[in-house]
Amino acid sequence: MTVATPPAPVRTAVERRPAEGPGRGIKPSGWTGLAFIAPNLLGVVAFTLIPLISVILLAFTDWNLVSGLGGIDFNGLDNFVAIARDPGFWNAVGLTLLYVGVSVPLTVVLGLALGIALNRPLPGRAVLRAAFFLPYIVNTVAIGMTWLMLMNPRSGLVNQTLDIFGISPGWFASSHWALPALIVMAVWGGVGYCSLIYLSALQDAPSQLYEAADIDGAGVWAKFRCITWPSLLPTTIFLAVTLTIGASQGFGLIALITSGGPGDSTTTISYYMYQTGFQFYRFGYASAIGLVTFAGVLVLTLLTWRAQRGRALND
């Protein structure tokens, strides 16, 4: 008798937690489980998975709209070699880095300041919070059209106001000011969202630590640096990553307002892909640009993630 009967299951606190894997309370259900997933799965396969595989395959072809389905020719790494030599692509990469590199940190920092401010007792706090969040829920076209007119170089409200200080930028009419104008819009649109995310993180901040710090006579800055900032770090990383992905992938506003111009001063990488795919119908090349961009963002995200993990372990 070598095989002992398994001991009767002891219910521990750990086991009582709802199981993640197939475990207690979950009966093997074979086809029923698949049937529950099937509607979603079929749709995901048809509209996400197959397009995903296609875009990867397309990136290795020189297919365009004119050549038709029969004209799909695999050309190996030609697209990627062409991308490496394409000055338009590198111009777009530079502009995207500038756009993302300025707008994301600015949005996150201002969002943090606003989140902390909105966390205090304030007159009409609920209304205040909603006010800053409003731009985030309004569609791109309504916002774009409004800002386009607000930033009219001659008679827009923005320059009417700036006139007091003797400056009048050309905004979307100038190749120097068009990207800064987009950055202003991005920051305005994202700050309220960030502050809201920070607000919900601040509610979980460790209040005993603040009390202890008060007893030790710590100042406002010391409390921020030693308690608030570290406890908000995961939120900051989350916001930095999601905003970076959003800012590097979106092309709607640029398509609406500048069409990448004046010149190519606002042709960010996502707009460059949109242009290549849907104005020149070079599907193969556009797919390759999309893949390269996605890979770039993915690497950036993973690096941020690892950096954060390193920090968390050191703390």
């Binding site: 996400t48 995903l52 296609s54 304030l122 309504a142 007119m149």
Partner: protein, 281 residues
Amino acid sequence: MTRTMTQQRAAKAKWYWGIPLWILAIAFLAPFAWMLSTALKQDVDAFRVPMQWIPDPAQWENFKTVLVGETSVLPAFGRSVLVALLRVAGELITATMAGYAFARMAFRGRDRLFLLYLATAIIPAQLLLVPRFIYFQRLGLYDTLWALILPGMFTVLGTFLMRQFFVSQPAEFAEAARMDGANEWQIFSRIYLPQAAPVLSALGILAFVWSWNDYETPLVLISSPDQYTLPLSLTNFVDEQGSIAPGLTMAASVVSIVPVLLVFVLLQRRFVAAMTHTGIK
């Protein structure tokens, strides 16, 4: 005595921070005030210097033109409603069932399948536009509302959200029901589904706002004006040379904001919870 003094000091501090923040908020909302003001102006007055905040006389005609005129946005409004309703309904049904199965049912290959879902969740929609454009053209669905509706009905993110919820539910419910002879469908629909109402409403709100505001997908997949959704139709009042009719464009923009604003005001707490818990726009 000291108590009232601390209270007074707290009240003072409240305004000390409150006033600058209110000023900032008003500056922040100025673009919306400008939108509303311009929506009620004649085009010649839109760029008058100095700016006139209260239009006099108020040009209510703009809204009439936008709603019932020759280039009315109402048909596009209707199409946006239709697309949003079908997307929300489809996503809620398919994501709830799939999320429930991933969390509470056991079958072969479940965890591997879920890993596949995880992997596709990070794919940005923009990357899939080229192949979707080609497919929908082949399928004859390009330039129809189906091109917007179908992909939105089956989402990976919605499935995640629902799975996370169902995983957190106690298993005892199912055990007790099974003892009473309930089948799998009854356990799902009578026991777990009613618990999910808050999550369902959060997901529904997100899906609605996302669908309502989507501009990039229809920009690529819709080409005829008679298939335009609302965001596309806001450009109806821009002429060939690219000059914008300010009054009409802003009136149409106001119309496009009203539904999300209503959802936001009526369901603010749910709305904010949905946004902060998922971080998806």
